[in-house]
């Protein structure tokens, strides 16, 4: 409905809409790949899960519900094969997520057929009782596999990812030594050392006092392992910088000048500084300059990788010299 004709005549007002900040919720969303419910049809449709009952309606797997300890919902996709590019999966592109968790009901052999959705570049989680498989998998960029007893059905993986994705107060944390529900029967220091050295995500159990504790949670980076928060923090900063660049260009309609490049650089540096101030990165700089190409500035961003402390190796010298 248009406004009053007289008012519109006296004072026509054009409204300028400010572009909103990018939505970061996708970073906190998980897509769980589960096997379809026994006796049920294979829907191959992503479903939003908010309760155990909703999960039970599509699969026999119960452990994904552990995500709901921290998250208000997650997405689940019941499929019989891990080829997520298959044409039969109807709505996988309608949802935004940056973590895929593969339920351990899929065997290690079935895992070999895993194909990510074509536009997915986030983190993949899986749990297996095959330590060698986990060791090799965690060398791959953005893989975060857990060692898990078969009977536990990936319980600890779901719990750990749920706590990670919740990101209390908007800060990504590494979840060091969080309490876990189930034991994966790792209770020897020598076994734990071997797991740690191989960068296997695992839960260490101390039946006497501390119970079951998450003892390593990392992610492959192609050449080794990184803190689990690293890919999430990088992705978030990248998205926020992109959003802020869009907003700034839209608001200021800049010319192609050194001054404008410098002003944009200052604006984006403030974004990085905010992440330094809240402790998620230890430093970071951005430079934006003019180049030889019409319309496009040249940018360079340097941010040290977010890291985590899990252990301390110390020496105690007895006696006084």
């Amino acid at each position: 409905m248009s406004g009053n004709v007289l008012l519109e005549y006296v004072m026509p007002v054009s409204r300028v809409e400010v572009i909103s900040s990018p939505n970061l919720q996708y970073l906190h969303n998980a897509l769980v790949i589960v096997k379809p419910k026994t006796g049920g049809g294979i829907a191959q449709t992503v479903v939003r899960i908010t309760s155990e009952a909703e999960l039970a309606a599509i699969t026999d797997a119960t452990m994904p519900a552990k995500l709901l300890k921290n998250l208000s919902y997650f997405y689940a996709l019941p499929v019989s094969s891990l080829d997520l590019t298959a044409a039969g999966i109807t709505n996988i592109d309608e949802y935004k997520y940056w973590t895929i968790l593969i339920d351990p009901a899929f065997t290690d052999t079935e895992l070999e057929g895993y194909k990510k959705p074509s536009n997915f570049n986030g983190v993949t989680g899986y749990a297996s009782s095959d330590e060698e498989l986990v060791i090799e998998a965690n060398k791959v960029d953005k893989n975060s596999y857990f060692y898990s007893l078969e009977d536990n059905a990936g319980s600890n993986m779901y719990e750990a990812f749920g706590a990670l994705l919740y990101a209390r107060k908007g800060i990504w944390t590494n979840q060091q030594y969080m309490a876990m529900d189930l034991s994966d029967n790792i209770a020897e220091t020598s076994t734990a050392n071997a797991m740690f050295d191989s960068r296997v995500n695992f839960v260490l159990s101390d039946p006497e006092q501390y119970g079951n504790r998450l003892a390593l949670f990392c992610v492959g980076n192609g050449s080794g392992a990184s803190a689990i928060v690293a890919p999430y923090v990088y992705e978030e900063i990248t998205t926020v910088l992109q959003g802020n660049a869009l907003t700034w260009i839209n608001l200021n309609e800049p010319d192609y000048t050194i001054t404008q490049a410098k002003l944009l650089e200052d604006y984006l540096q403030k974004t990085i500084d905010a992440y330094i101030d809240n402790g998620q990165i230890s430093g970071g700089t951005i430079t934006v300059t003019t180049g030889n190409e019409q319309f496009i500035l040249q940018g360079s961003i340097v941010i040290p990788e977010p890291s985590a402390i899990w252990r301390v190796k110390a020496t105690l010298q007895e006696g006084v010299i």
């Binding site: 802020n244 907003t247 700034w248 608001l251 200021n252 000048t257 050194i258 001054t259 490049a261 410098k262 002003l263 200052d266 604006y267 403030k270 500084d273 300059t289």
Partner: protein, 133 residues
């Protein structure tokens, strides 16, 4: 070094840039100082470093001329609301810059010289910051 004659000066609020079109100069004052000291017995040839005036903000003052009415109004509102601003002085040829982030305006924007002659247009706009680069 930044050359005044080819510089762009102004401030931004929430990402929106406002320019001071006529500026006679920009003056930066950094109050924080580092000093060396040592024991009075004078054996230490290297000394220790200490700081003074860390609590005191740095200032950047624009001697501006003929500030447009809409910019003047924004500065008046910013003073009243204690709005945080990012202040800049950029050489538009080399890209060298002075950047002061999260500044406040220290005095209400006001013409202070109502006189005959060209100086009547000059107003000092002083910003304070703890984030000067």
């Amino acid at each position: 070094m930044i050359q005044l004659w080819r510089s762009e000066n102004g401030f931004s609020i929430d990402g929106i840039t406002y320019y001071l079109p006529d500026v006679d100069g920009a003056t930066v004052t950094v109050n924080e100082r580092k000093h060396l000291t040592r024991g009075a017995n004078s054996t230490n040839k290297k000394g220790f470093v200490y700081k003074e005036n860390s609590k005191q903000a740095s200032t950047i003052v624009f001697d501006s001329v003929n500030v447009p009415a809409e910019i003047a109004q924004i500065l008046k509102d910013a003073y009243n609301n204690e709005t945080r601003m990012d202040v800049f002085c950029i050489d538009n040829v080399t890209g060298e810059s002075i950047s002061a982030k999260d500044c406040i305006l220290t005095t209400y924007f006001q013409q202070t010289n109502v006189t005959e002659g060209e100086d009547t247009y000059n107003v000092d706009i002083e910003f304070e910051t703890f984030n000067l680069k």
